[in-house]
């Protein structure tokens, strides 16, 4: 009776744990401001992710079949084993008996395992080769640098005057390969956009590269995949695949500095930005603010999230973020700055003009 009770309790605890984990995962998905952006390695949206998901399927099915075969063999062995009473003397006659059938089954299982493992290794090698074979003709070159806890991206194509910097949101053209050069500013990070490509580590002092192509327009969520400090979980990246014409328009807009503010409130906001602590870390193209320690804000208002996918980019969220970044992302390098309500409104009004 007690044993049954124990078993029931054990099953209940297990069910509770599964429920907790799934609801936590759902909560985490709902907490990101861009839930509609796919973040799913099993639904490939480009050739690179496609190769990886193919390999995953080969591995999953092979291993499932082998697992099923082993369970079936185990079940067969249990069922056919002779039942003996605990008091009966053990039957030791089998010790000296030759068992050619058993030896044959073990040998063939070992050979089958070796062959299957070799096949999986081959599949892995061919996937690697396929990943490396993506044609880079007409590729878009972007240098992505990981920081604690945000991403900066420098678009390298064209002459020096054509390069531009953005942060936490990169746009790419559909159907054209993208060549990312990966760097890290402080600690080891890892870039993972599961719907488009595999992971790649970003290591300080080294540069890595990563190539992929998106075949369907739309936003894709990326994430730092290597624990990098307090806010590793809130280090998101949005990759937006645009149709070619729309992408060119976006690039042109990014290359153009934003128009100077016109309203009195926005002008006051700009003065505040440039004279107080904002300009010590942030840059805004076309103004004297040119520090490189924090996300480039040149076209902040055109992005869909704030603080690397932490908050939706609305005026209210922006004001809440500036007033107390540590509340939304504890440990982040942006300090809480004491600022009056009027000044905060002016600052937000200015930042909202940076389309």
């Amino acid at each position: 009776m007690t044993r049954m009770l124990e078993r029931a309790l054990y099953i209940a605890a297990l069910a509770l744990a599964v429920l907790c984990v799934t609801s936590l995962a759902q909560y985490a998905m709902a907490a990101t401001p861009i839930p509609q952006a796919p973040h799913d390695a099993l639904h490939a949206m480009g050739p690179q992710a496609g190769h990886i998901v193919d390999l995953w399927r080969v591995m999953l099915w092979t291993c499932s079949l082998v697992f099923g075969a082993i369970l079936a063999a185990l079940l067969f062995a249990i069922l056919r084993a002779p039942r003996a009473d605990a008091t009966a003397a053990p039957d030791l006659s089998a010790v000296d008996r030759a068992e050619p059938r058993v030896r044959r089954s073990v040998a063939s299982a070992a050979v089958a395992s070796a062959l299957l493992l070799f096949a999986l290794a081959l599949a892995s090698v061919f996937t690697d080769r396929a990943l490396a074979r993506l044609s880079l003709a007409g590729a878009v070159n972007i240098e992505v640098t990981a920081h604690q806890w945000w991403w900066s991206a420098r678009y390298l194509d064209g002459g020096h005057a054509d390069t531009f910097v953005t942060a936490n949101e990169i746009h790419i053209p559909v159907g054209r390969p993208v060549n990312l050069q990966l760097k890290a500013d402080d600690v080891i990070h890892s870039l993972w956009v599961p719907s488009l490509a595999g992971k790649k580590d970003l290591i300080p002092g080294r540069s890595a590269s990563m190539q992929f192509r998106a075949d369907t327009p739309g936003p894709y969520r990326g994430q730092c995949a290597e624990f990098c400090g307090f806010q590793h979980a809130l280090m998101g990246l949005l990759v937006v695949a645009d149709p070619p014409a729309q992408y060119e328009a976006w690039v042109q807009a990014q290359r153009t500095p934003p128009a100077p503010p016109t309203g009195a409130k926005a002008i006051r906001g700009q003065q505040l930005f440039q004279s107080t602590s904002c300009a010590m870390c942030h840059a805004i193209g076309g103004t004297i603010a040119s520090a490189q320690h924090a996300p480039d804000l040149t076209h902040l208002a055109s992005r869909s999230t704030l603080a690397a996918g932490t908050l939706a980019n609305t005026p209210a969220q922006l004001a809440a973020w500036i007033a107390d970044p540590q509340k939304h992302k504890p440990g982040v390098n942006m300090p809480s700055t004491p600022i009056s309500r009027d000044d905060l409104d002016a600052l937000v009004a200015y930042l909202e003009t940076l389309k």
Binding site: M280, I288, S336
Partner: protein, 190 residues
């Protein structure tokens, strides 16, 4: 008896935790509310601010026991380009910070005033441009450069190429006024 010893050990351990505490909220600032001190440096970063700067209320840095904050100070020292003039503490355009010579005082309040007010001959006035609690973190780091902080709080090996000893392996210098220079500018706190 055993329990008392254990309790004492736990209290000792807990009191030692300040060294490792991560402060995510800005603690109470140690400076006057009024911007009463005048700016003494002619330079300011970015667009200059009008008006004065705040002074330290008490001659104590709130961060000198906290290794995390001292290291944040080290990061900010680089971010705000202190090393542009002072190098890694050995000086260059500005005076050295790792030696025993101090033109404007080596105590926390004096270094705070030097950073916020600025000093003649090139030290910009950072008051209002750098949040005050970050200035205190930089103050703590600057004092660690000449061995003024406890060895377990001062930063160890840094990320940049630097051939000398890290801050926590430097001998403690005995600060003395730099006699080759006029001692204190008018209006500086004593």
């Amino acid at each position: 008896m055993k329990r008392i010893v254990l309790a004492c050990l736990l209290v000792l351990l807990a009191s030692g935790c300040e060294r490792e505490a991560r402060r995510f909220t800005t603690p109470a600032n140690n400076e006057t509310a009024a911007e009463s001190a005048q700016r003494l440096g002619t330079l300011q970063p970015a667009v200059p601010l009008a008006g004065g700067v705040r002074q330290a209320k008490a001659n104590v840095s709130p961060y000198e026991e906290n290794a995390f904050s001292v290291n944040q100070g080290k990061r900010l020292y680089r971010w705000y380009n202190c090393n542009g003039c002072h190098g890694n503490g050995g000086g260059g355009i500005g005076p050295a910070l790792m030696d025993s010579q101090w033109k404007y005082g080596s105590d926390p309040a004096s270094i705070f005033a030097t950073i916020t007010q600025g000093r003649p001959q090139g030290m910009p006035s950072f008051g209002g441009h750098i949040p005050d609690d970050q200035v205190w973190q930089i103050v703590a780091y600057v004092r660690s450069m000449s061995g003024q902080l406890r060895k377990d709080v001062a930063p160890s090996r840094g990320d940049s190429l630097y051939p000398g000893n890290p801050e926590n392996a430097r001998p403690k210098e005995t600060p003395q006024p730099d006699k080759s220079q006029p001692s204190r500018p008018p209006g500086a706190p004593s």
